[in-house]
């Protein structure tokens, strides 16, 4: 029998153990607010009542810690992942929509992903090419086959890890648990499935293509961001170096005239905003690719 608000809150925390700390925090603060107000109301109605007597009917209406914890867990399952907030469809002017991209976590996530893609691309590519050539090369020996199987299993792990990264940064829902192994079939059948499943081979193709894609993403976005920052900073560089921006074509040096400097700044701001939009767009496309290549159609 629960006799105090604190006791209920402790029990609620216990019931929610293992959930996201943010969810626990939400649940406990909601319950505390409600129960304390309800308790104050009960005291008002009957000043002589003790907390231990007042609490049970309040909790009966609020729901047991078990029921309330279940409600929060259920809600959490329905919520979209981190960045996946539904886009607000509020009517905004095209200009506000254009510059609003800086407040969009999806654009920032996508940009970060584009920069990271070079690193992950190098890792996946190296692993897959090495694994593939070593295990295929040794296939003539007896150790080749187990090595190949281990390698194929490791490709699955890459697919899962990349999926988590894609969900976190690109906001595309990806598997949150490793694939369950069907315990009812024998290990020989499981190995055969490993070779037969589309997912194994598409994940491998994805891992290999991540390197060229990563190089392109990284180069394009670093160049775009660096270029626009350079344009935006022209007034400062002019002050420091006492020279306007210039280009040299052949033997001729073209210097920017002074009145053009504000145009450089405006151009830089437009370019960096456009780059954010491009990141978001490419991020969405890449998320689609990842979902297609990494997620098994049948579970």
């Amino acid at each position: 029998m629960i006799r105090s608000v604190d006791e209920y809150l402790r029990q609620l925390k216990k019931e929610l153990a293992g959930s996201d700390p943010a969810v626990i925090q939400d649940a406990v603060s909601d319950a505390e607010e409600h129960l304390r107000i309800a308790l104050a109301q009960a005291y008002k109605a009957n000043p002589n009542i003790s907390e231990a007597d007042a609490i049970p009917p309040i909790i009966d209406k609020y729901g047991s810690a078990e029921e309330v914890a279940a409600a929060y867990r259920q809600m959490e399952q329905r919520l979209p992942p981190g960045l996946g907030r539904p886009a607000s469809s509020a009517r905004r002017s095209p200009i506000a929509r254009f510059f609003g991209v800086f407040a969009d976590p999806k654009a920032w996530g996508a940009l970060l992903y584009m920069i990271l893609a070079l690193g992950t691309g190098i890792i996946y590519f190296t692993w897959v090419i090495t694994g593939l050539s070593v295990s295929l090369g040794l296939l003539v020996l007896i150790v080749g086959l187990p090595l190949l199987i281990l390698f194929l299993l490791s490709v699955r792990v890459i697919g899962f890890v990349e999926g988590r990264l894609v969900e976190a940064l690109l906001g595309v829902r990806m598997p949150r648990r490793q694939r369950a192994t069907d315990k009812s079939i024998g290990w020989w059948q499981r190995i055969k499935n490993l070779f037969r499943e589309r997912n194994t081979w598409t994940t491998m193709a994805y891992s290999i293509s991540q390197l060229p894609l990563g190089i392109v993403y990284f180069t394009v976005f670093v160049a775009l961001i660096a270029g626009s920052l350079y344009f935006i900073a022209t007034p400062i560089t002019m002050l420091v170096f006492h020279a306007p921006p210039y280009v040299i074509v052949g033997d001729t040096e073209y210097r920017a005239v002074n009145w053009a400097i504000p145009l450089f700044v405006i151009g830089g701001v437009l370019l960096i905003t456009a780059a954010m939009h491009l990141a978001k767009l490419v991020g969405r496309a890449h998320g689609g690719l990842a979902k297609f290549m990494l997620v098994s159609k049948k579970t």
Partner: protein, 129 residues
């Protein structure tokens, strides 16, 4: 056997409640919006509970996560205000997007009830013959 029936009833009731609680909360906050008074969780829970006293599965505590998720989807906004007595209270207000959503959900709800009622009265069956 009795336990089994009871738990099946409870499950059905629970599913209906969890399917409709978002609509119920939006409606309540829409009325509050018309009265130009944002409401806090306890008020909302009391109001809903007073209407559904004979529904034992309707738990006040289960409304809060729904409020949170509606806020997450930008259908509600909330702000915390200190109160004279007790802990600070979180006041909820419906957004323009919430109002539009409520309008659409009302239509869906009335479609749904008309459909279920019609099926239960057996009207569709009569037409078949």
């Amino acid at each position: 056997m009795v336990d089994e029936i009871e738990s099946a009833d409870k499950k059905f009731q629970k599913e209906l409640i969890s399917g409709t609680s978002a609509l119920v909360l939006l409606s309540v906050l829409n009325d509050a919006n018309d009265a130009a008074e944002p409401m806090y969780g306890y008020q909302i829970a009391k109001l809903i509970h007073s209407q559904g006293e004979d529904i034992p599965m309707l738990k006040e505590g289960a409304l809060y996560p729904v409020l949170r998720s509606l806020e997450n989807s930008h259908l509600l906004v909330s702000r915390v205000e200190p109160s004279v007595s007790g802990p600070p209270r979180r006041y909820y207000r419906i957004t323009d997007e919430g109002l539009k959503t409520l309008e659409r959900w009302r239509k869906i709800w009335s479609q749904m009830t008309t459909f279920v009622d019609a099926i239960m009265k057996g009207e569709s069956h009569d037409q078949e013959r």
